[in-house]
Symmetry: C2
Subunit: 227 residues, 2 copies
């Protein structure tokens, strides 16, 4: 059973706590502001008010149980760095820390963070990529090689059974799923639109309004989009 | 050709600018701090120093060309709200705004934002989900129904051709790709480990060390993981 320590209960830290609890893990929440400890204490396993930059105060924290600590302090760079350094000294096996600049990232790694995340950079990349590719309603990078992309089914591959198109060999892409809208009418004649999700089967035939979920390398997906 | 306006050049706003430019779009960058305008002016299409809460100052901005505006102001809630309201009044077709709280989200929608993002909430969910599922090396939510999950191939489905397992019908999951490690030796006898990515084919046979990429609804994936 996983035990996480979350240091810093701003919106990022509090969201980490809720999601961990939702997924069945234990959470020890730390912050030096009493009102934030009060805010989370009913929800988390343990909430301890402590100044995490002070080695002696940290004696109150059960580090023997903690496998992963997340330093969710954003603005206070000094507190973020000092807390990370102390957690490393206490022997926490895995430390993830939030950084708000490149220099902050470098120093966090130098004092012992195993992983550093910059929320503004990550979300900036994700949101701009999504908005800049209008024919793609969603796009995910899976590992370094593959991408998963949601897009309208190209005309060239509609109205034929998928196995006859031999897409994996011809274009090096694989259709994973299809989103199909079905139009009907309710009891009083109002148009009803429903969306079903189907797995791609060899016998599947794509229709005009279908949205397809495809997997492949980025360069192969870009070629396929030009169809 | 897409034209984006980015209001607010903090790290989030500047990352949006870089990624848009990288993907071939045009960017009009706005901020009232001269040093931030100087920072981006070589990189973006046009950088204009302006107080975006002032209707008269906005006369300098070529709104006729702008299809999408992103209000990347985080901390200054008043500026974020007033800017969004003015962009709506100027008729910008699509406005995405950053919010830092639930109330802020509500008000942004009320004054005309088409989409609102809370970076701390989005990243808190994403990071906690990833850390809380150790047998899953990666997990993506695709739309509201499907999940994409990377996991070790369960023993029960190894050493048989995929088509004979009939996974889509029996477990309602579809294997999309396989990550396979190949072990060899280099010229001086050192072990060499390489990873190849293969699409799942009906004739594919899973091996012990394979990692599989599967798609399905969350509840179906959870059942499948218990195999
Ligand atoms: N020395 C410290 N010991 C314990 N907690 C600290 C310390 N310094 C800062 N914190 C806590 O870290 C939390 C997060 O700090 P941050 O400055 O990132 O706040 P925030 O901007 O509200 O966060 P978010 O961006 O997640 O909304 C705050 O609640 C603060 O009390
Ligand atoms: N009225 C305004 N007109 C134009 N720009 C503004 C206005 N108010 C704020 N800004 C700009 O918005 C930018 C982002 O504001 P924010 O308070 O989110 O800064 P930040 O915390 O540095 O951002 P980030 O979290 O992205 O690093 C700042 O550069 C600021 O100059």
């Amino acid at each position: 059973d996983k035990v996480f320590a979350v240091i810093g209960l701003g919106s990022f830290g509090r969201q980490l706590c809720s999601t961990f609890i939702e997924r069945g893990a234990s959470v020890i929440a730390l912050d030096n502001q009493a009102e934030l400890i009060d805010k989370v204490k009913e929800e988390v396993t343990q909430a301890i008010r402590v100044d995490t930059t002070d080695n002696e105060s940290l004696a109150l924290v059960p580090f023997e149980d903690i496998q992963t600590a997340i330093v969710a302090i954003g603005e206070n760079i000094e507190a973020s760095i000092l807390t990370t350094a102390l957690l490393k000294r206490k022997g926490v096996p895995y430390i993830l820390a939030r950084a708000v600049s490149e220099l902050h990232t470098q120093v966090l790694r130098q004092v012992g963070a195993d992983e550093v995340v910059n929320l503004e950079i990550d979300e900036g990349i994700k949101i701009a990529q999504r908005l800049a590719a209008p024919d793609i309603s969603d796009r995910f990078q899976i590992g370094s090689a593959l991408s998963l992309v949601e897009m309208k089914a190209p005309k060239a591959i509609q109205h034929k059974q998928l196995h006859s198109l031999d897409l994996r060999n011809r274009y090096r892409i694989s259709i994973v799923a299809i989103y199909r809208s079905t139009h009907s009418v309710d009891e009083v004649g109002n148009p009803l639109k429903e969306q079903t999700v189907l797995f791609a089967e060899p016998s599947t035939v794509l229709e005009e309004q279908d949205t397809i979920l495809i997997v492949g390398k980025n360069e192969d997906i870009d070629k396929f989009r030009e169809l």
